[in-house]
Amino acid sequence: MLQVQDLHAYYGKSHILQGVDLHIDAGEVVSLLGRNGVGRSTTVKAIMGEVPPHGTITFKGANIAGLPSFRIAHLGLGYVPEHRDIFPGLTVRQNLMLGIKDPRHPGKWKLDDMLGMFPNLAARADTAAGVLSGGEKQMLTICRTLMGDPELVMIDEPTEGLAPIIVQQVGDLIAEIARRGVAILLVEQKLSIALRISHRVYVMGHGRIVFEGTPAELKANDAVRREWLEV
């Protein structure tokens, strides 16, 4: 579904991505692991065109490298950025409504569905989203992207800075998304969630993919874990 080949990206003069190759099939849950600063977020940003990409990126057979992000979104690729960009002045309900790309063709995720899944959000449906807690904001950004009915959603560091109980909830939500057949590219630092729900994992180091395999293979591979993941 998503094919990335020899992807390079630069911030000014620094060469952040040095030839990333990865692929995700329909309905697959894939995690992109690695320490801070190895280029995981940059990979996702380059795919969305937020950082200028150099290389080949195809989504459902179409070349999307460097397209404006709204076109990429319309092809069915959703993106939840790491900084939880909710629209603070709008209500929770309005935030969710803006996730819908075309009100004439709503997708399989319904507003009531979302609010039903998260009683916290339902209780605050008509308050400004700016006052939500960090965990609620994270749920809201993920749900908002789902309202656009993506076939693949890329989620960047959803559990960063959240309390363990909320991390558990975010994990459940991601598992639920996968259960409904949406492919996921999860950028994470916490191994627990990634290993629990992924079909396949990539490990990044120094702007490249250094390991690819199943969660079981990663668990068995002490050398990779020690060199690229453990602090």
């Binding site: 319309h74 950025p81 709008l90 409504m97 790309k101």
Partner: protein
Amino acid sequence: MLELIVISTLNGVLYGMLLFLMASGLTVIFSMLGVLNFAHASFYMLGAFFGFQISRWFGFWPALILAPLLAGALGAAVERYGLRHVHKNGHVAELLFTFGLAFAIEEIVQIIWGKSPVDFRVPPLLDFPAFTLFSTNYPAFKIFMLVVSIVIFIGLLVVLKRTRIGLIVQAALTHPHMVGHLGHNVGRIFMLVFGVGTALAAVAGVIAGPALVTQSNMAGLLGPILFVVVVVGGLGSLPGAFIASLLIGLVQTFAVSMNGSLAGAFGPLSPDYAATWLSDIWNVTVAQIAPIMPYLLLVLILIFRPMGLLGTRDT
């Protein structure tokens, strides 16, 4: 005295609403595109001149509709074919672009319509006194101006708060990238906002043209006051721009109508000062310093509340 207060308040609110028609566009464009549009007042001037020309050909009422549409289309084109290409060179380039545009528009207006005021008159239908208060005849056209600005203000509010496109605009004010990731065409929204913003300025031009003077320097006269409004209200804040517009409208109209001076207030206490070198300052009337009042307000705001009355960002 009561007459003065009532008439000045009416005039002040009217002037304030006109300022808001322009400041609202300016402040929204600033929040979304991050660029202070120096040419914004030029679209107000274009509105007045287009209005003048079209009312010559077809009458005032078609002009009231057509002139803003024309100016708005021009504004949208400026965003699409000008600013969008300059954008990648950074904010300084954008600022210089709008600065140059303001000069270009002024020169073009002078080439076509000349430097002296054109004869843009109140339409006969509205050329009568609406009511007589004490001894002042209040012109119907001014009431019409007030009604038009209030209707547009309410319309703007409804569109922003109640429609989907309004919500997208609000979202794009703070998070343009995220709006793009959700599949909304941010470029087209920018163009739309620029077009509507400049069209609103042009509406102000069409209705202010007959009441004030339609001349090629009208953009230059009004532009600086607009920036004061936007800064005092808080860059990027619509409610702030509304309050600041009314405030500055009222401050200026009241100041113009006051004849008080320091000598008038304190003179009897110490007549000696009147003869010294201080006498110049002593005898300046409030009306004489009215034009600098907005800037005085600007300085005070920048000292005590740099983010503006309702601003959120401190840059």
